[in-house]
C-alpha cells in the first residue's frame, strides 16, 4: 500500500469551551483565595501574630454578629442604613441626570450654569453634614439628604458630558425628517447620554453609602454607622468589626444591584467605547 493512513485525531478547537473552562477555574481560584485569607486571619489572631483585641477574628466577628442579630438590632440598623442609602442614591442620581440633560436645551443656560456645577462639585459635601443634621433632624431624612448631595453632582456632570457628545449630524438628520426638539431629545439625547449615566451608577452607590454613614456618625438613633460609633466608644472592637463587615457585604450587594441595573438599561446595546 502506497497510501499511508493518517491516524492522528481530528482536532477542532472550540473557543467558547476554553472560555468557560477559564471562567470556572477563576471562580474556584477566587473561592480558595478567600478561604485562605479568612483562615490566615483566624489563625494569626489565635496564635498571636495579630493582636486579637484590635484585629478581632473571623469566628469572633460571626459570633458577635449573630448575637447582635438575635439580641440587638443589627437587622433593623441594616435596613435603616441601606434604606437611606438606596433612596438617596436613586433620588440623587435621577435628579442629577435630569439636571445634566437640561444643559442640552439651551447653550446660554448651560454656559451660565457650568461653572456653578463645577464649583458645587468641589464643595466637600460631607463637611456640611453637621449643618444638614441640624436642618433635617437626626432621623432618616438627614441621611437621605446627605446621600442625595453626594450623588447628584456626579450624575449631573456625567449627563452633561453625555450631552456634549451628542452627534450634531444625528440631530440634523432627525430635523430633516421633521423632528421637533422634543423628538431629538427623546430619540437621540436620552439614548446617547444613557451610557454616561450608567457608567457612574457604581461610583454613586458607594458615595451614597459614605454619605449615609457620615450622617449616622454625626447624630443618629439607628443605623450601622451609629452602631459602629457606639461600639467604638465603649471599646467593643469586635462589634466595630461586625459593622465594617456588614457594611462591606451591603456595599457588595448594592454593587451587584447596579451591575444588574446596568445590564437592564443597556440591553441590546454596545457599551460606550
Amino acid at each position: 500500500m502506497l497510501e499511508e493512513k493518517d491516524k492522528s485525531e481530528l482536532i477542532i478547537e472550540d473557543p467558547t469551551v476554553e472560555q468557560t473552562k477559564l471562567r470556572r477555574r477563576a471562580i474556584v481560584g477566587q473561592i480558595i483565595l478567600g478561604v485562605l485569607l479568612i483562615v490566615f486571619w483566624e489563625l494569626s489572631s489565635r496564635i498571636g501574630w495579630l493582636d486579637s483585641y484590635y484585629w478581632s477574628s473571623p469566628s469572633t466577628i460571626v459570633r458577635t454578629g449573630w448575637k447582635a442579630i438575635v439580641q440587638g438590632n443589627l437587622l433593623q440598623d441594616l435596613a435603616y442604613t441601606s434604606g437611606s442609602t438606596i433612596l438617596g442614591f436613586i433620588l440623587g442620581t435621577a435628579a442629577g441626570y435630569l439636571l445634566g440633560l437640561t444643559f442640552w436645551w439651551s447653550d446660554l443656560y448651560s454656559r451660565i450654569f457650568e461653572p456653578y456645577l463645577i464649583a458645587f462639585n468641589a464643595v466637600p459635601k460631607l463637611a456640611l453634614a453637621p449643618v444638614l443634621v441640624i436642618m433635617f433632624g437626626i432621623g432618616f431624612d438627614s441621611k437621605v439628604v446627605l446621600a442625595f448631595l453626594m450623588t447628584i453632582i456626579v450624575a449631573a456632570i456625567a449627563a452633561y458630558s453625555g450631552v456634549e457628545n451628542v452627534d450634531k449630524d444625528l440631530e440634523k438628520m432627525l430635523v430633516s425628517l421633521g423632528a421637533k426638539r422634543r423628538h431629538v431629545f427623546m430619540k437621540v439625547v436620552v439614548p446617547t447620554t444613557l451610557p454616561w449615566i450608567v457608567s457612574i451608577l457604581k461610583i454613586n452607590i458607594s458615595l451614597a453609602l459614605a454619605g449615609t454613614i457620615v450622617g449616622e456618625f454625626i447624630s443618629s438613633r439607628q443605623g450601622i454607622g451609629r452602631m459602629i460609633l457606639y461600639a467604638g466608644q465603649v471599646l467593643d472592637i469586635d462589634l466595630v468589626w461586625v459593622g465594617v463587615v456588614v457594611l462591606s457585604i451591603l456595599s457588595i450587594v448594592m454593587y451587584l444591584g447596579t451591575v444588574w441595573l446596568e445590564h437592564v438599561l443597556m440591553k441590546g446595546r454596545t457599551p460606550k467605547p
Partner: protein
C-alpha cells in the same frame, strides 16, 4: 407632482470679519421625477445648497419653492440623506428606518409593518433585527436611504451617499438606487465627486465652481434608460465624460 425651484439663493458667512461667499446666486429648476446630479470640487457650496433646500440653514438671500410654495427655512419638506449613514447604534435596522414615521406620529407597530416588506424587497432581508454595527457600509447606506424613502417626500437630497464605499460596492449601489428611483418616481438631487457616477445616474448635471460656489454649467445627459454596465462604454458617455473632465480641470487650474 413636485417641482422644486431654487431662486437666486446665496449664502455668506463672516470669516475674520470679512464676508465670505459660500454660495452665489444659485438658480435651479428641477422638474418632477428627474434625477439631477451636482458635481464640483470640494468647497463648492454643494452642501450649503442642500442645507438650504432642506431648510436647515437660512440663505442670506433667495428663496426655495416647492410646487410654488415658499419652503425657505422650513425643514421636513424634502428627504435628506447625508454622507454618513447616521443610523442610531442602539436601534435595530428596522427601528432605524421607521424613525421618520415615528416622528410623524405613526404607531411603532404600524410603522414596522409598513417597513418590513420594503427592507426585504430592497436587499436588507435577514438584517431587520440586527444593529447597524453588524452591517457593511453598503448595507448601512441602504438602510439610510430606505429611512429617507419611508419618510415619503417627493424630493430627495442625497449628499455623496456612496462616497465612502469601495468601487465594487459603489457600482452595486448605483444600480440599486436607479431601481429604487424607478420604482418610487422620486425627484432626486444627488451630490457627487465622481464624474462617472454623475453621468451614469442622472438626467441632468449641474457643474459648480470652486469658491464662491456658483453654477458653472448645466449638462443634459441624453443617454437611454435603463442603463447598465455597457452604458459606461457608450460613445456618448465618453463624450460627456470628456466634456465634464475639461470643465472640472479648468476649475482646478483657476484655483
Amino acid at each position: 407632482m413636485s417641482e422644486l425651484k431654487i431662486v437666486n439663493c446665496s449664502k455668506y458667512y463672516k470669516k475674520n470679519g470679512e464676508p465670505m461667499c459660500a454660495l452665489e446666486k444659485a438658480d435651479m429648476h428641477v422638474e418632477s421625477g428627474r434625477f439631477i446630479s451636482i458635481i464640483g470640487p470640494s468647497g463648492c457650496g454643494k452642501s450649503t445648497l442642500f442645507n438650504i433646500v432642506a431648510g436647515l440653514i437660512r440663505p442670506s438671500r433667495g428663496t426655495v419653492l416647492l410646487d410654488g410654495n415658499d419652503i425657505t427655512r422650513e425643514s421636513g419638506h424634502v428627504g435628506y440623506m447625508l454622507q454618513k449613514d447616521l443610523l442610531l447604534p442602539w436601534r435595530s435596522i428596522l427601528d432605524n428606518v421607521i424613525i421618520g414615521l415615528e416622528i410623524r406620529g405613526v404607531p411603532k407597530k404600524e410603522a414596522r409593518k409598513r417597513a418590513l416588506p420594503m427592507l426585504r424587497h430592497y436587499g436588507l432581508g435577514g438584517f431587520e433585527y440586527d444593529h447597524p454595527d453588524a452591517l457593511s457600509g453598503g448595507m448601512r447606506q441602504r438602510a439610510g436611504l430606505i429611512r429617507t424613502l419611508l419618510y415619503d417626500k417627493d424630493v430627495i437630497l442625497l449628499d455623496e451617499p456612496f462616497g465612502a464605499l469601495d468601487a465594487q460596492t459603489r457600482m452595486q449601489m448605483q444600480n440599486w438606487l436607479l431601481k429604487i428611483w424607478q420604482d418610487f418616481k422620486k425627484t432626486i438631487l444627488f451630490v457627487t465627486h465622481d464624474i462617472d457616477e454623475a453621468i451614469y445616474l442622472s438626467d441632468e448635471i449641474y457643474v459648480f465652481t470652486h469658491r464662491p460656489g456658483k453654477i458653472k454649467a448645466r449638462i443634459e445627459v441624453d443617454l437611454l434608460r435603463p442603463r447598465n454596465e455597457k452604458t459606461l462604454m457608450n460613445d456618448r458617455f465618453l463624450e460627456l465624460k470628456r466634456e465634464l473632465l475639461l470643465m472640472l480641470r479648468e476649475e482646478r487650474i483657476s484655483e
